[in-house]
């Protein structure tokens, strides 16, 4: 059987936030464990758990390493996903503000920072993972072969940028991607230790006969809405082309991961990549060839899922960014691409300070670019001053804070959780199951993430009312 093309595709993003509490002159006042406990206290008080699903269908939890994490609900179009990803920032920022109040009540000096970035000051890393549902019929090997050249060069268009420390023979200086130094394999089923670019651990959160959940680990967290849209939008287009059997150029490499750190340190895109078939290609050429195919594909793709008009915006930005790299004139993208925005800011500071890349002020600017707090974080400041472009609106983000995506399974989960909270009835949910706990446990299993309506859930909602009545 040939693989279907998912122009309408289920996608989600998981964001791990870095966390710290700063006291007095700027040192940290609590360990990440301690401040994370303050952060999750209202959640634990209410749900007796630090791992919950919220009424907008997303998952909020305390991850390995004391990172607050938001996994967005299942989305089936790009701007919808962006709205839900941004809503996650709003949710954790609200928790941070409550944690500051709780700290003050306990007479602890602490300003709580949540950084949407990927590396701390000594090189520990935490991720921003993208999930793309792909057909079970698509052979993993083909997927990897066609996807890896795109993935190792994708940082050129959507890296978050970073002041890199001296490491592994590299000089200190600006690097395009935060995660490039953190991934060590191409495709594998491990996550924490080996950190592959694409993880294939098989939790489809759905019918495993039909679906595979492709888990992309190599991406940076983006502050810029437009960069996020380019990151996910370009990847959606490439996946569609792979599924549709579009003939992409053969850029298979012996050792793709061996090039990723060099690519991160060359903003001309000139890094030479060794091809398995012999010869070389530059990182920029891989992106340019992929973009050319994607531009063509726009004329053919079924106009469903993410509207083709929306993907034209993606391709427009993709085109301008590659032209900017080709010409080294970044003025046409310096309001839209994270690493370019950050580099401009850092360069202004370097001029003012007259210092090299090792100056702590530059590292501080790098970090606080990712502080999500409005009125304090640097990216939010640039946004509020109109110095960077937006892709969506505050209204759409705030709507996504309390409302699940209407077009996917998440709608059912959102309805269920919202009603259970209104009624005060204990329920248990995960990505697939909705369960009313009492008087008799009753579960509905939702194996198709594409389906937003289900008569069984209507019955379960009726049972919720019964459960509430029984509780008096």
């Amino acid at each position: 059987m040939t693989s279907p093309v998912f122009a309408r595709r289920i996608v989600g993003v998981e964001t791990e936030y870095g966390i710290t509490a700063v006291a007095g002159e700027g040192g940290s006042s609590l360990t990440p464990d301690e401040i994370a406990r303050y952060l999750f206290r209202p959640i634990v008080d209410r749900y007796a758990s630090s791992n919950i699903f919220t009424r907008n269908g997303s998952r909020l939890y305390l991850d390995v390493g004391s990172h607050p994490e938001i996994a967005t609900a299942e989305c089936d179009s790009l701007t919808q996903l962006l709205n839900h990803e941004q809503a996650g920032d709003v949710v954790v920022d609200e928790l941070a503000r409550r944690a500051e109040e709780a700290l003050a009540a306990d007479r602890i000096d602490g300003r709580v920072y949540l950084f949407k970035n990927n590396v701390d000051s000594v090189g520990n890393s935490y991720g921003c993972h993208e999930n793309y549902l792909v057909s079970r019929h698509l052979p993993l090997r083909n997927l990897g072969k066609q996807l890896l050249p795109f993935m190792i060069t994708r940082q050129l268009i959507c890296g978050a940028g970073m002041v890199g420390r001296a490491t592994g023979g590299y000089q200190p200086g600006f690097v395009i991607s935060q995660r490039a130094d953190q991934v060590w394999e191409g495709i594998s089923s491990a996550t924490t230790r080996a950190r592959p670019i694409i993880n294939t651990r098989d939790e489809p959160h759905g019918d495993s006969q039909r679906f595979r959940r492709m888990h992309v680990i190599v991406g940076d967290s983006n502050m810029s809405e437009t960069t996020f849209a380019l990151k996910v939008g370009a990847t959606l287009l490439v996946l569609e082309m792979v599924e549709a059997g579009v003939a992409l150029p053969d850029f298979e490499m012996h050792n793709p991961i061996g090039h990723i750190r060099d690519i991160a340190r060359d903003m001309t895109g000139g890094t030479l990549l060794d091809l398995k078939a012999g010869g070389t290609v530059t990182a920029l050429e891989v992106q340019e060839a992929t973009l050319a195919a994607a531009t063509q594909w726009l004329e053919e793709r079924p106009d469903e899922g993410t509207p083709t008009a929306e993907l034209r915006r993606v391709v427009d930005l993709w085109t301008r960014q590659l032209e900017a790299i080709r010409t080294q004139d970044f003025s046409r993208v310096d309001r839209e691409i994270d690493w370019v925005i950050k580099l401009n800011l850092l360069n202004r500071y370097r001029e003012r300070l007259g210092e090299d890349w090792g100056h702590p002020k530059l590292a501080q600017i790098d970090l606080t670019y990712h502080d999500i707090r409005p009125g304090r974080g640097l990216f939010p400041l640039l946004e509020s001053k109109g110095l960077v472009d937006r892709w969506t609106t505050d209204e759409a983000i705030h709507a996504a804070r309390d409302t699940a995506p209407e077009t996917t399974r998440a709608r059912l989960r959102g309805q269920f959780i919202a009603r259970a909270e209104e009624l005060g009835v204990p329920v248990t949910t995960d990505w697939v199951n909705l369960k009313v706990n009492e008087p008799e446990p009753r579960v509905v299993e939702l194996l198709d993430p594409f389906v937003p309506v289900d008569a069984r859930v209507d019955e379960l909602l009726a049972y919720l009312e019964e459960s509430a009545a029984a509780r008096g």
Partner: protein
């Protein structure tokens, strides 16, 4: 993306002829007005940069 653009850079809105006016109307991070921006940012940053950076250590995630 089509929202109002800030007009803080020099020359913005002085005329409306063609692309140049459009470009000039866009606030630019890397041109005029940035010194004010840097001053404003300095006012937001924790005062001890070295301590702020040094103490930001996580346990690592996935």
């Amino acid at each position: 993306m089509t929202g109002p653009q800030s007009q803080i850079s020099a020359g913005g809105g002085s005329d409306n002829s063609g692309d140049d006016a459009f470009e000039a109307g866009q606030a630019q991070l890397n041109t005029t007005g940035t010194d004010d921006l840097l001053d404003e940012i300095d006012g937001l940053l924790e005062t001890n940069a070295a301590e702020f950076v040094r103490s930001y250590v996580q346990k690592g995630g996935q």
